[in-house]
């Protein structure tokens, strides 16, 4: 993790994080390896890109999972 922290909007909430990539953010929130999907600034991030895509100040990120439904 880089030492500098950035401000992002995560699932609609403002958050400050030191995670530099999507993969690091997933790890920070203990979501690594879970069946989730990630959207960065309204674009879906493919699994293979989690480590390669850098987060920057002001990014808006959505992480969803599956819950009970009919």
């Amino acid at each position: 993790m880089s030492s500098e922290s950035i401000e992002i909007v995560f699932n609609g909430e403002s958050r400050s994080t030191q995670s530099a990539t999507v993969a690091e953010l997933l790890k920070e929130f203990e979501l690594a390896g879970r069946k989730v999907a990630v959207e960065l600034n309204r674009e879906i991030v493919q699994r293979s890109d989690y480590s390669g895509i850098a987060l920057k100040n002001g990014d808006s990120i959505e992480i969803v999972q599956f819950v009970g439904g009919g």
Binding site: N11, A37, I44, V64, F66, V67, G68, G69, G70
Partner: protein
């Protein structure tokens, strides 16, 4: 071979069907909402003999990310097809976005296309649903649209590439059973893709009636999840669906206006 053995073989013969190229033996699709626990969801799904289960797509809980995940309870059930829904979406854009996110999470190409048009009835917006089927089918999704019991909408969904059509029996979560049998019959008669009656099934007899009419399957959630004993009700629903399907294959007796004695008229004392 004894006559009994022949009958048993007939009942057990392959009666599977295809949705989007995938073969299913079970004609009961279950939901996963409203259960008291994930363990009960799992137990009921197994008791129902279901091979497909619907799930919803929602934001992860940031404040409590360690909350148990539903799918972990189904991880070992390799033959279970996950059917993500787009429930709660009121616009085409939200529906497409939800479907694409669901697929990105890696559970396959199936999607229950749901665009709600009204908060009170939760009736679908058929027009936007057809549009969503068109776009998502082109993107390679296997679309199962939730629609009203309208034959025109069913036909248009089919033309838009839907792999099955899922007309409602009555409003979502109402348990009111089939409200418009005539419309459902039209849909069943005309459809070249499987017809799954979705929403409103309240009891196994409702499910049996759907199958007796020739529906290919039913999708039910509340009827099982909200029963006093969901696992027992799931087993009952499985039998209702099986009985309805066998009755459809057997072909019901013709209806008559008046009585017709079952015992012979001759030889009376």
């Amino acid at each position: 071979m004894s006559s009994n053995a022949v009958r048993t073989e007939q009942m057990q013969e392959d009666d599977s069907f295809l949705i989007g190229g995938k073969r299913f033996s079970s004609r009961l699709i279950v939901g996963s909402g409203k259960y008291p626990s994930f363990q009960t969801t799992r137990d009921a799904t197994i008791a129902a003999g279901a091979e497909m289960i619907t799930v919803a797509v929602r934001r992860v809980n940031i404040t409590d990310p360690n909350k148990e995940s539903l799918l972990e309870y189904f991880a070992d059930l390799k033959d279970l097809t996950i059917l993500p829904n787009t429930a709660g979406c009121y616009t085409l854009e939200d529906c497409l976005r939800t479907a694409r996110l669901a697929r990105a999470a890696g559970v396959g190409d199936f999607v229950k296309v749901e665009v709600i048009g009204d908060e009170k009835t939760l009736y679908p917006d058929n027009e936007l649903t057809i549009e969503a089927c068109k776009i998502l089918s082109d993107e390679g999704f296997i679309c199962l649209p939730y629609i009203t019991d309208d034959p025109i909408t069913a036909r248009k969904c089919e033309e838009a590439g839907a792999a099955a059509v899922m007309p409602l029996a009555s409003p979502i979560g109402s348990g009111l059973g089939i409200q418009n049998e005539h419309s459902l019959r039209f849909i069943i008669e005309q459809s070249k893709v499987p017809v799954i009656v979705d929403a409103g099934v309240g009891t196994p007899s409702d499910a049996a009636r759907c199958l007796e009419m020739g529906a290919d399957g039913v999708l039910t959630n509340s009827a099982i999840a909200l029963a006093k004993d969901p696992v027992l009700m799931a087993a009952a629903m499985k039998q209702g669906v099986a009985a309805g399907r066998l009755a459809y294959r057997a072909g019901r007796m013709p209806k008559k206006q008046f009585a017709s004695a079952s015992s012979p008229d001759s030889g009376l004392i």
